[in-house]
Homo-oligomer: 225 residues x 2
DNA sequence: CGATTATTTGAAATCGCTCAAGTTGGGTGG
DNA sequence: CCACCCAACTTGAGCGATTTCAAATAATCG
């Protein structure tokens, strides 16, 4: 039976957004019992689009995926970043309410609705997962509604750094994708990174690999401390 | 068993944010089977605070509630508006991740976690409800991250108007609360309303009651059409 | 190595914010 | 019932953070 226990563990293993290099971050299957189909995507591959028939449940095994929505004039807002262990694609509706695109090489396992309906344990984890994602969305609403550009970028780096076990943090997204996630323009994101570099708070090895010598000083800039 | 069916009905009855006057919008119990405790709050009463022990599940029966988060320096972001039929207060964690405050006179029914764990039908509705709230949060992320001030206000009015059966729409929130919901300042919200009034797109009877003669023209301003 | 794309930087414009008065309106008590 | 009061709202002026527009530079991939 679905237990509404105080268990955040289902959302703890947020790792591979951050791995310096996306070498096989394997992840034990979320849904062990099912003969699930496995799929692989390359960077920038579309997984599904807003409005698509919502068929099954995707379980992240490796890589990073973004969920985004578009306005008719082309403005884009990235609403979620997904890493191994995360689930997505499940709606109560008939259709997807946002689009999903692979940021890196991505492996997902695909489960049918029926498989989910059969497994009580799965339902519980699914539910807790939804709650955790909701918490993340609320935090993101605070970021989008109330934080300055620098605070947004610092929050983003802090999140990556916290979930990284490596010293070098790989940015899984282009500047444009980061901008669309943080509700900024690409130029503002770039300027914020430059400013942090100038201040010695981040070091860039390559465009997409950064080092954070002192995470504490980044955290002070997030607005949440 | 928890059915992951394509059923958005659990989230359809968004009504009383909009009733011109909050006269007893009664709502059939979401959870019929439980001997649930009922509670009443007045406008601006706090229901719980971020960090409070997360005990039970609240079911909205009457009125409107806002969920919000604060940054340490006092900046506030309203992350959700709740109306009869909505559920809140349920976390996977031990603690509330945001605060809840009554906007109007509010009646809620309170259920224990145990009661929820006993009812399969309830779990399903709870789950679908969480999905629907998530969709709302994603839409709100688009608003906060990508829409102009006028587009935000128009989106807000459109939402109220769509869920209103009356011609007169009662704003259940002060300008400050609207501002904190839309990620703006109180002055910007006020100026946007004035601009809409000047253009004849809304008429104000009182500060907190407006009329929308032509909803179509408001919709054109939301950025989503 | 060259072409192409992504990123950075600069300068100017703009939208929304801040600060500072006014104004309105609803409620209260005389 | 009216005058007053207080809080909520509106309006104005100036400022500033972020965007926009335009190049320049750097990185990536054949």
């Amino acid at each position: 039976m679905l237990q509404l226990t105080r268990d955040a563990s289902a959302y703890q293993h947020r790792d591979s957004l951050t791995k310096a290099y996306p070498d096989a971050v394997s992840h034990e299957p979320f849904i062990a019992s099912t003969p699930a189909r496995s799929l692989k995507y390359g960077p920038h591959d579309s997984i599904f689009l807003e409005g698509d028939q919502a068929g099954h449940i995707y379980e992240m095994v490796e890589g990073a995926v973004m969920l985004y929505k578009l306005l008719p004039d082309g403005r884009r807002q990235v609403v979620e970043l997904l890493v191994p262990g995360d689930l997505f694609g499940l709606t109560c509706d008939e259709f997807q309410d946002c689009s999903a695109e692979a940021l890196t090489v991505v492996r997902v396992r695909i489960h049918t609705r029926e498989a989910v309906e059969r497994s009580a344990e799965l339902q519980q984890r699914l539910f807790c997962h939804a709650r955790a994602q909701m918490q993340a969305l609320r935090d993101h609403a605070v970021l989008l509604g109330r934080k300055s550009a620098m605070e947004r970028v610092a929050s983003f780096i802090e999140r990556l750094a916290l979930s990284s076990d490596d010293d070098a943090i790989r940015l899984p997204m282009t500047r444009q994708e980061i901008a669309d996630y943080l509700g900024l323009t690409i130029e503002t994101v770039s300027r914020s990174f430059s400013e942090l570099r100038r201040r010695g708070l981040v070091a860039c090895e390559r465009q997409d690999v950064i080092r954070v010598p002192d995470l504490e000083r980044i955290s002070e800039l997030t607005g949440a401390h």
